[in-house]
């Protein structure tokens, strides 16, 4: 009897304090504060910042993937740090320094593995999502036992990871169905200096952007036997490319209907290609060299930001007419944008003004600004359910 009473008491107190409010994470996200090694936990139902989590090291060029339950963010830092952040408890769960210099990562189809792409020592390391224990180490060896920087790492259906070797001009597909025996298929003719890669939202095509030559390299993951195909040779040919002050990012690369929109390297234009023939069908003149070309989730608009020194501007393109319909000047150094899952708002980082602006994508009005120290990437948890993100 006494015991029962005690249990009742415990239950009562549990009710009162231990579970104050249940919360799900579907409307949450993390923003990188690149200069001070911190992330902010935010939510986009009320547009507020909920917490700051410190101690993540060098976050210049950092990116994040989410566990499939959307509770944990895995932050890839420049200094080789891989940090697991609990966005509900708003703290670091675990942090490992897994290399000297890394560039980004991906989470596997089944959510059990995290792969990290490293510049130094060049290669990819794969970790167990739950423990951050090393599962596979894949040095990017080429030529005469040299190590290449790796870029453009993405996850692909069939428990695969795909990435490219910057120095070697290769693309590797790693099959992790047997966790202890990675099966690597190498394509050695990707082209000169692949600088980034992406996978189409359906997970079928991997495309690497090439710095050292015109065109891009395409790999059909349904038909690996076809090998690398060169697409859009000579886009921008005949004109001297402008100096490229920042490498374009291919992630977030826009696909709308049959059309694909991508940043041209060294040109003030967005290239439009047909996604079945992979031929260039047009180009849209824009204000500067595009960095990110991102479609709103309904594919009706494309939002483009630009390289230094034109990074104070955003342009919005109407996909139907392929015209620039709006030019915005949010402030100095607009580095990244993220749409809310259904696209009514877009969040954008204005690095040099320590602000993240939240805009209505129909009226283009700023509806709110948050104070964020040197913000760069903004990552909402709905990425957890998308191939390649």
């Amino acid at each position: 009897m006494k015991k029962l009473f005690a249990i009742a008491l415990i239950l009562g107190s549990l009710n009162a304090c231990s579970i104050p409010t249940l919360r799900a994470t579907g409307d949450m996200g993390l923003i990188i504060e690149r200069a001070i090694g911190r992330v902010q936990v935010v939510e986009h139902s009320q547009n507020t910042s909920l917490a700051k989590i410190e101690g993540l090291g060098d976050l210049s060029h950092a990116s994040i993937v989410y566990s499939r339950d959307q509770r944990y963010g895995y932050v890839f830092g420049r200094d080789g740090g891989l940090t697991q952040v609990d966005i509900l408890e708003q703290k670091i769960v675990k942090r490992v320094i897994q290399s000297g210099n890394s560039i980004g990562g991906a989470i596997s189809q089944d959510g059990s593995l995290i792969a990290v792409s490293n510049y130094k020592p060049g290669g990819v390391k794969i970790f167990a999502t739950r423990t951050l224990e090393l599962v596979a180490d894949i040095p990017a060896v080429y030529g005469d036992n040299k190590l290449s920087k790796t870029v453009g790492l993405v996850d692909a259906p069939g428990q695969k990871f795909v990435f490219s070797l910057y120095d070697a001009g290769e693309t590797w597909v790693v099959d992790m169905q047997d966790t202890h025996k990675p099966v690597i298929t190498k394509f050695t003719n990707t082209g000169s200096l692949p600088y980034d890669g992406l996978i189409t939202p359906d997970g079928r095509y991997y495309i690497a952007g090439l710095f050292g030559e015109d065109g891009m390299a395409l790999l059909d993951l349904w038909h690996l036997e076809k090998g690398i195909q060169r697409i859009m040779p000579g886009y921008g040919r005949g004109r001297e490319p402008l100096p490229v002050y920042k490498m374009p990012h291919l992630e977030g690369w826009a696909m709308a209907g049959n059309r694909v929109f991508m940043p041209a390297v060294g040109q003030h234009e967005v290239v439009v290609a047909d996604a079945t023939s992979w031929k260039q069908v047009g180009s849209i003149p824009v204000y500067g060299q595009p960095i990110f070309v991102m479609t709103r989730p309904d594919n009706r608009q494309m939002w483009v930001n630009f390289a230094h020194p034109r990074n104070d501007t955003i342009q919005v393109i109407d996909v139907e007419t392929m015209q620039v319909i709006k030019t915005l000047k949010p402030g100095k150094a607009v580095l990244h944008m993220e749409f809310t899952p259904r696209g009514e708002h877009v969040w954008m980082s204005v690095r040099d003004e320590d602000r993240v602006d939240i805009l209505d994508t129909e009226s283009f009005e700023v509806i709110k600004s948050l104070t964020v120290d040197k913000p760069s990437g903004i990552f909402f948890t709905n990425r957890a359910q998308k191939i390649g993100l």
């Binding site: 060029h61 210099n101 200096l193 710095f211």
Partner: protein, 102 residues
Amino acid sequence: MKTSLLIILLALVTPAQAELTQQRLQELKHLLKHDCGSCHGMTLNGGLGPALLPGSLKDKPDELLFVTIREGRHGTPMPPWKSLLSDDDIKSIIKLLRTPPE
């Protein structure tokens, strides 16, 4: 052709450097950290481009750095900065690169 360009550039490097304003110096520091940093790492310890820390550059003469920054390196992502940076700017950047980070 290349060598004659180099000689002209070397001649440019030698004259005494005009002092930049404090404000310009701050701008250059910012540029180095964030814009050069987008390829060389925010702490300049390397990224797509090599590390630019004093130790990694100690065997590289000022002239080489000057030409690299001014003209870029053709066939690599290192862009020419001459349309954005004056020669004095570039010399100040080299000084900054030679100074160990605090």
